[in-house]
Amino acid sequence: MSPRPEAVAGIAIDARSVCVALLSAEGDGQALHAIEVRELPKPLFEAPPTAVDEASLAEALQGASAALSGKFAAVRVVLPDTVIRSAVLDLDDLPKTEEMRGALLRWRFAKEWQRPEDALECRGAELGEDRGKKVYFGQAADRQWLDSVKRALATAAIVPWSLNAAAVSRFNCFHDDMVTGAGGALLALDAACWNLQVWDAQGRVRRVLTRLRVAGAAEYESIANAVERAILGYVHEAGGRAVDSLYLNGGEDEVAGLAAVFKGRLRESAIWLRPDAKVAGSLAGMRTGLAPLALAAALGG
């Protein structure tokens, strides 16, 4: 049992900015109290972190989290899916100990990421069994950046309750809206990357795909093609699989553009999930930039 905080806050950090969304309890739900955005002087995550990067991040966090000062708030922090990567493994047998599972994840992500194993910090979660295979959700974070972000949070006097990838935050936030007993997919657009998560009828994440964004006139078409291929690949990999709905999340303008692309390809329209619809109150900028992700973090962890 944990003590009940008086407020919840979501902090989204991407390469160029930091956004803090503060919610406070109102009746049975949550009310939007503040959204603060701070731009960073130099992009993060493109090279190994420096003391200057860390100091500028700490300063941005301090400035954006002024509304948190003096409050006992549950703070949930999200990092881009390019900094914390996720994958779902179908294993014949699950390694017995946490240590062995960690070693497996490090080996797996080191190969994918082309990084030394000790440069990664991994987490995993069992998702049960499917057709005799153990389904294991794994994540790996760039250790250097993870440590740097933690230090910056400490410098800004922020004690996070959780720190995770944007994909996990979104999935948990919209879980009750999306997971309705049928398979589905969530496509999320961030400034630097897009992320697709596909789940099965039991509500277990079965595919996670993250790709860097390539700016261009036909970017949304290109994303739609890749998403279509990934979903078809998942559905046809084994019998009995289906993806009934496609959900979209991201900044208002981008989601509208993507929805238009998918309109001609799907029987039913893609569903735009808006975290601001889950809270009372309205603030300028709550549907653009990093704000939807910060809100999702605050709501979902």
Partner: protein, 176 residues
């Protein structure tokens, strides 16, 4: 199925344990404080009785001033003590140590017939005897080499008759 991974150790999980520990410490401190208060109350209750006893004891205590003898008498006593100390003062080694040393130096076939230790003068007069003169000569030489003695002197050599024991009377000056 929500995903429950986390890249930080959630601080909030430790809060109940810390709160429980602090509550336990607080309860222990309260119990201790209550015990101390109770103890203090008991001691405070005994205070009037102890004060009464103290006053009673002080009232009964005899007032007696120690009378010293007059200064002339004290001076005489001091002088006597100094004389006795001077008389009792030995020069050099005590008798027990002297006998111990003589026992070590004395050859197997010789013996002591008398020892006179004038401790205040640091002088020893002894008579050693043996069947023949050789052991006594050895004894004399050993005493001359003995660092305890400053001076070794053969005072007299005697033999009562044919076949009787030879006797050496030796005077020693103890090194101070």
């Amino acid at each position: 199925m929500k995903i429950a991974t986390n890249f930080v150790r959630p601080a909030q999980r430790a809060v109940p344990a810390i709160a429980a520990a602090m509550a336990a410490v607080a309860v222990a401190l309260i119990v201790w404080a209550a015990w101390l208060a109770n103890d203090a109350a008991g001691l405070r209750g005994e205070l009037p009785q102890l004060r009464t006893r103290l006053a009673h004891v002080e009232a009964q205590k005899p007032v007696s001033a120690v009378r010293l003898p007059p200064a002339s008498e004290l001076g005489e006593v001091r002088a006597r003590v100094a004389r006795i100390n001077a008389a009792a003062q030995t020069k050099g080694l005590p008798t027990l140590a002297l006998l111990d040393d003589l026992e070590k130096q004395l050859p197997r076939d010789a013996w002591l017939t008398s020892v006179h230790h004038r401790a205040t003068q640091g002088e020893v007069v002894l008579v050693a005897a043996a069947r023949r003169a050789d052991p006594l000569s050895d004894f004399l030489l050993k005493l001359e080499d003995d660092p305890l003695f400053e001076e070794v002197m053969l005072v007299r050599e005697a033999q009562a008759g044919e076949g009787a024991a030879v006797q050496y009377e030796i005077r020693l000056k103890v090194r101070t």
